[in-house]
Amino acid sequence: MRELFFLPDIPPAAQLPWYALLLLCAAIAGEILERWLRLPRLLGWIAVGAALGPHALGALGERSLAALAPLLDLAIGMVLFELGQRVDLSWVRRNPSVLGASVAESALSFALMYAVLVALEAPPLLAAAAAAIGMATAPAVVLAVTRDLRSQGQVTERALLLTALNSAYAVIAVGVLLAWLAREYHGDWRAIVLHPLYLIFGSVALAALFARATLGLLALLGRRREAQFLCVLALVMIAVWAAASLKLSVLLALLGYGAAARLFDHRRLFVSLEFGRLGTILLILLFALTAASLDWRLLAAGVFAGAVLLAARLAGKFVGVLAFARPSGLPVRKASLVALALAPMSGIAVVLTHETVRLYPQFGASLAAVMVSAIALMELLGPLLAHFALVRAGEAAAQAPA
């Protein structure tokens, strides 16, 4: 056969057609949902990912998912960086009640989820870790929905800020709890103190370093959109790699990187940052692949526990945000919509669950079982709730002609 080397292998070995199929289906599904059902596009991307994933049709096998992992990392990095850019940490200085709402909603949803899980007879540490993971709102969902609707206003701004903050709390809380577990499993006292400290200060230092470097580079490049875009894209890649290599929190580092780049940018060197079409492709991959990696059969098994957990979580977010509605200068109706927009849960929870599984296999396996059904439920409900909240708040842009 060597002399017929020019003929194709059968079957074709390349992954490319499958990825193309994924993007094509996602594009079509997204348009169908957007145009005819007036639902958020990303639900279509999630559905396509779930359908093509290893647990359903299997067009994307475990190996293809692994091959796409670097792109997924980049997508997560971009989402976190953009979210960081879009929140204004100095706001909490001018309006401390916004920080109050953030702490209250996170603490309450943590406490209520913990109570539910303990009532379901989960061991306390397991319950605490799961509740900590559950505090976080999905940055990718909130970001994708606000981008899709081009929404503007108080509900949008507050949902973005609270999302960034509760994601950061979740990482820190999980870090502390993991350190605690480290003591139970390995009996090492140093880990309980040093691990969270390393995680927090290391990530923040990395964020500050990259923000300074970015602004220095931008000062040289000037306000040219394309040059800035490429420069930031490259630096985000390096930051994701650096955070992962140093075993820091990618979430904290990238979120902090985006926020610090805005905080330090006194001269407004950044032209308005839009990841545009590339950003959309990365988001499609992010949602589709997250959905593909979820084992949806577990949904049925834990649907009741999952639903109760989600109800407790949402109740915590409502009470927390509403308690600070008036002092923070927001009508009660809009505050409820902010709480609703915080419902999405997925990306981060999945990442955190996987990180936990990687570090503590014994612990992670049982934890994952509790979380997966809640995550799977919210995977579909979350984008709908966030979409609904922003539209009802009157913050979505009018339909622009295509």
Binding site: W91, Q152, R262, R268, S272, G394, A397
Partner: protein
Amino acid sequence: MTPERLQFAASAPLTMGVELELQLVHRRDCDLTRAASDLLALVARTRHPGEIKPEITESMIEVSTGIHTQHAALLAELEAIRAALVAAAERLNVGVCGGGAHPFQRWSERRITDTPRMRSVSQLYGYLAKQFTVFGQHVHLGCPDGDTALWLLHAFARYLPQLIALSAASPFYQGADTAFDSSRLNAVFAFPLSGRAPFVLRWEAFNDYFARMRRAGIVESMKDFYWDIRPKPEFGTIEIRVCDTPLTVARAAALAAYAQTLARWLLAERPHPVTEDVYLGYTYNRFQACRFGLEGEIVDPLSGERCAIRDDVLATLARLAPHARALGAQRALEEIAAIVRAGNDARWMRSRYADSGSLADLVWQQVERLRGAA
């Protein structure tokens, strides 16, 4: 329903009031943002003088003062309103700034406020309604009766180029330098009912004109006239509408007091005859003021001589001095003289943009300037 005949409510002569349309901008990208209703709900909970009201889009609000006779009191009220507004905006993380137009917003992005009037305006005027996202200062001057109001309105026509040039603050529009000092007025001129009031000097005659226009179905109320100066019979005032919203409330107060002093001089000394002739070269002069600001050259409609607007302002200031003393408006007139020396807001905006090269940064500096920080 507006009554068949417009009643001109008498008001104390030479009283003044100011309305300012202000921009609401996002603190990150400095583009116009949707914030008016939340901001209004929040300021409604605080005690503040004057009124703060919604406008045609969610990125715009209007503040208005009470009725004043003194420049100092007017300035104090404007500063108090500004303080209340800025405090509320800070809590919502929104920027508030002056200026006649946003330097880089895209008109197609704007959304019209959802009220029946705004909807019908939008339907009638199409893209003009969205293009009309511009920000002006309106100055009301009290008049004892309709006849005086009409006389003063037409006497003022000669001086409008001065007010345009002094207040001009919209050199950038849709992301580009327009070469105009006030590009905002070009957005106003596109409307069919813009321009000037018909030359009548008797309130009864004006009422006949209005009734004819209404019967013809061209207008429903006085609101449909977008004139440079229009009578406002229910307030008993004439309303000067050519000024861009300045970058500071101090300048807004000074412009109002300048108009008040001009009115006192015109009414007391009747320095020139008021006939149809005051409109000779009116649109040419207005163009010069919009395009070149204080450097523009106008033709005096009565003598036919050309002069630079800056010299025209200085000559007028010299004649106003005794009236300024009588009204307590000396400080306002000093500020007007300072604008002539140092340049209008449009010049300031161009120099800031030349320094930073960023229109977003320019908007941010406008926010700081209104707040009183720069």
